[in-house]
Symmetry: C2
Subunit: 631 residues, 2 copies
């Protein structure tokens, strides 16, 4: 028996088999609904309002997440089963929404040497005295131009004789690697494009590059549509590991997203799809594998070995990416299960592997890649910093979209000043706002260094369900005027866990590599989210080690920059293979040092106060710390 | 409106749109019917007997070809249009029939070095201390075994992680060229097969080779099923040039034939389809192109340039050959439009390119490839010797099947002794029988050296429609007891044209290369048909130059041998590329020398009597010759 689910406010109707959840109907209909935990009833983000139709009784998950909201008709889409035609409304806060994405990143100057080359030839036609084959004729000329060892793709051989003769033997060949993948009549050398893609766990950035001059002619970003299957990497690995069909489905989701961006780029720039010849992709190892449709089961199981570690070439049509049908795909090397091609791209773009002095690079995201080193060596790890910086697991957390509080200052009297994105009335707090808020609470002594809210008897302090809460915006100031926007004790814990993971990752690498604190001379923050962090706040809460602010730089989406570099020059691909060989990967799951550092980093800035002398001198928070050492 | 055509004796029913011919219904139904001219009404071979149904009036072609047979209900399938449900019978002589095919050929000893290699590896599983990617793990081992620069096919990466773990990291990789194309659990190194195919214009020979020891484990041949589209290369080029669909259709015909042989081979040898990894194909340039599905339009137009001249690699699945789905195809190089990969295979197998002394190689078929040379140089051409040697254009000609007269001796009193295939009562005369008959007629003076029948007043001489005929078998001796089996004046002309083409090809090469007659020291006859020719008869009629019989050898299907060599060792592929570079191709269509030699070679043995002293001394035929010299 099938029923229809109608989703308001858009009014889209989805038919689905009885017993399935409203969330699966939304996924089926590609309807924008937040489902951070992947439909397990844990995150409480997929709230919908039942307008019409019989429903199943609320589950324990819903009771825990929604409380008395249930009586007002709110339910979790992942728990709500379809046993009737049903109409639900998706409140704005349940939508993943359009988001401010940092797409561009810093990119070093590069010499063009792309893997795809177009070459215009005027060929002497065959004659009775020279009846060589068309292929011989072409390859002989190329050989004279020092372009040797070339093969001709089968599809090209099928159309070549006609095009050669119809164009009067004046043609342009497209050579990808060492294979002729296309032939066009006349001189089309100026029409040669490639696509660079950075697949983040939460965002997808795509660039179309003119391979004749290296300019970016189109760039855009969207949310990674795989978010429907869970906001973190592990949820998606679990989903994709269910079956071959599930893997294909989650792969198709990202490919559809990529194709929609390519479509948009083609429309906006008026180029031809057939003139896009190569796609270079970076992403963490799981994103890389899901893009390629590789089995991710063992990425989620110790020792987390990837299927593909090296740079990998395949055909666009194997993957379903809509460029020239014989176009190619190149993915950068992965270091390990949780340090992927995006980290290599970060390195290529930031040139950390060429630096004389010890440098720390953190690509901040749902997973944060931590890379430490210089030209003498590179250490790396990945820490599950979680989606807290993206607003998840935070009571009033939201993505960096309109109305998100992104800057917070707390005055001496604990009054709060804040800035929202687009200067809208506040709807919630995004990552940089949360870091700011907590740093300010620490600086002004609203909390102590253990993160406990200690301020009392102030209008901004209230008792919540799970302890004290600090009010950032009173409900009258907010967009819906219904609720105060607060930072809860639990929110602080979430941020502590996230920043502790990052710092502990850094410290683990430092200790494993045997570096001394004083050796660190530079910090590079990369990643879409990273660009909006106030470095003082990040330093204050101990997310990054204490260095002068001048030594902290933000390079933006260096993963995307690295992808573009490899698109523009194969020299960077060779460099990538060299870099990956030099990298020493530390698996934190197996590392007692990490556990120890993590517990110490739960304090703000850290239980190791000596490492943060300036920070410690600047905060009013009482220093309640207990140093932990693993026996 | 559609009607049904029922074909007797098999009773197969084919539905076809009104207005189409019975021949096209037969082609659609894959029904065995001879159509040498490709359905133009010219060859008169596709005779059917109308049993039931309304028919269109006989065409002029039919009146010319069938005469009074029309009144008995006989029609040409290519002229008979479907305007009713109709039942026709296909008489035995209209069937292409099962034929005695020479499949094997002489093959020089070869060192195994196939393009496909299987390698069994026991791999150390990943651990937290060594979390390298599965690909890195594999490629690192191969690299240590000096197998470098290897890529992994996309389909393999999709199944690799599961197979590695389920097999406890004991697996066998199949490497084709420098790409891993398969992974199997456990050690399957002993299961490694390849297929060698010789696509002749009239026959298709297929060999399955065990690539571990080079042995042929299966060999079989069938008629080239493309014969439905015309018996000669030009008819098929014309058919395939009509449209992309026609090209696909004629390609599919040969691929289906190949797949049926592979199927049979798999069944008979109990090997697995997935363990066949590569197919090596030879054929003349047109057969090569039709196999690959390449545009043949310009193969039929001066200057007859092929699309592909070099050795070519592609995937079996591009072509539709049913082996391992990621298996490969290799086709040998083509020299020019009418000297193809089969000629290169002939050279590789006969080693003519290594000989010190001047050698003539003729691969006799519907087209005869003529190769002249030694290790110092190779000259080649292709002559349209036509299907007369295969029995076409000969009044009682038939293929080398049961009941075909294959040996003829004429006594002093002009009585005839003959041998038939399978010792059946004679049904017609096959190629070797026709050559024997004419040689004997020449030797005994039934004809003069111009080919004219001069014997008179003998019971074996009768007047036919177009002049005199010599009776080989009286009707009482024959299978159907209805007609005398005769050699007509026209038959003699057909054979004269065929042998003149071959000899003129040889002489043109001799003169273009500047060799003297005395330099020729060896003749090699290759080709399925060639094996049955009596060398004395061939020499007598001047099909080949006069050398001692001991200097004439028959190597059988050397094209197939060359294909097997290239399957067993890539060293031969390199050699093939070297050989093709050394070959000097002479296009006879543009060659006045050829015209002159052709006219002289219409005499038997030749108007140049001095070149055939032994022959001239042995024949009773009056020497009426006029030497022709082109101004």
């Amino acid at each position: 028996m099938e029923y229809e689910v109608k989703f308001l406010p858009d009014g889209k109707r989805i038919t689905i088999e009885e017993g399935n959840t409203v969330l699966s109907a939304a996924i089926k209909g590609n309807i924008d609904i937040s489902a951070i935990c992947g439909g397990k009833g844990l995150c409480g983000k997929c709230i919908v309002e039942v307008i019409e139709g019989r429903t199943n009784p609320p589950t324990d998950h819903e009771k825990r997440r929604l409380g008395e909201k249930i009586s007002k008709g709110f339910r979790l889409a992942c728990q709500l089963k379809v046993h009737d035609n049903i109409v639900v409304n998706i409140p704005e806060q349940s939508r993943t929404g359009r988001q401010r994405l940092v797409i561009m990143g810093v990119e070093p100057p590069s010499r063009l040497n792309p893997n795809v080359k177009k070459i215009y030839l005027e060929i002497t036609p065959p004659s009775l005295n020279d009846p060589r084959g068309d292929d011989v004729r072409v390859l002989d000329i190329l050989s004279k131009l020092n372009i040797g060892n070339i093969t001709i793709n089968y599809e090209v051989t099928r159309k070549m004789p006609k095009i050669l003769r119809e164009s009067n033997w004046k043609v342009t060949f497209t050579i990808l690697g060492n294979e002729i993948i296309d032939i066009e009549a006349g001189n089309t050398v100026d029409k040669c494009y490639g696509v660079a893609i950075d697949i983040g766990t939460t965002k997808l950035a795509l660039f179309i590059v003119d391979l004749n001059d290296g300019t970016v002619i189109f760039s855009d970003g969207i949310m990674n549509p795989q978010i429907k299957y869970g906001e973190d990497v592990i949820s998606r690995i679990q989903y994709a590991s269910q079956s071959e069909d599930a893997l294909r489905e989650i792969q198709k989701t990202i490919i559809d997203g990529i194709n929609s961006l390519i479509e948009k780029g083609i429309r906006e720039t008026n180029i031809m799809r057939n003139n896009i010849y190569e796609v270079v992709v970076v992403g963490n190892t799981a994103m890389h594998h899901l893009f390629l449709g590789l089995n991710v089961k063992w990425l989620g199981l110790s020792p987390y070995a990837p299927v593909i570690g090296k740079g990998y070439y395949t055909r666009a049509k194997n993957i379903g990416v809509n460029i020239n049908p014989i176009g190619g795909i190149y993915t950068l090397p992965n270091v390990a299960g949780f340090v992927g091609a995006d980290a290599i791209a970060d390195i290529l773009a930031s040139r950390i592997h060429e630096k004389e002095k010890l440098t720390l690079l953190m690509d901040v995201g749902t997973n944060t890649e931590v890379i430490l080193g210089n030209k003498y060596g590179l250490w790396c790890c990945s820490t599950a910093s979680g989606p807290a910086f993206e607003g998840a697991h935070i009571k009033f957390g939201m993505r960096a979209a309109s109305g998100a509080i992104e800057r917070v200052r707390i005055k001496e009297n604990f009054d709060v000043e804040y800035v929202t994105i687009d200067n809208e009335k506040p709807r919630g707090i995004c990552g940089s706002g949360i870091i700011d808020a907590i740093a300010e609470m620490l600086r002004t002594g609203v909390i102590d260094t253990s993160g406990r809210i200690i301020l009392q008897n102030h209008k901004r302090i209230r008792e919540g369900e799970n302890g004290k809460e600090f009010i950032i915006a009173f409900k009258e100031e907010t967009a819906n005027k219904e609720e105060d926007i607060v930072i809860t004790q639990d929110d602080i814990r979430e941020i502590q866990k996230a920043k502790a993971a990052m710092y502990a990752g850094y410290m683990t690498l430092m200790r494993k590599a045997g570096f001394k604190k004083e050796e660190l001379s530079e910090i590079i923050i990369a990643g879409a989210f990273g660009s909006y962090i106030d470095p003082s706040s990040a330093r204050l809460i101990g997310m990054i080690p204490e260095l002068p602010i001048s030594k902290i730089s933000f390079l933006g989406n260096t993963a995307g920059s690295g992808a573009r570099l490899c698109l523009k020059s194969i020299d960077y691909r060779k460099e990538a293979e060299e870099v990956v060989k030099k990298m020493k990967y530390v698996e934190l799951a197996a590392e007692p040092i990490f556990e120890e550092e993590y517990i110490n980093a739960m304090y703000m800035p850290n239980s190791d106060l000596e490492s943060f002398p300036e920070v410690v001198a600047s905060i009013k928070a009482p220093k309640v710390v207990r140093k932990y050492k693993k026996r």
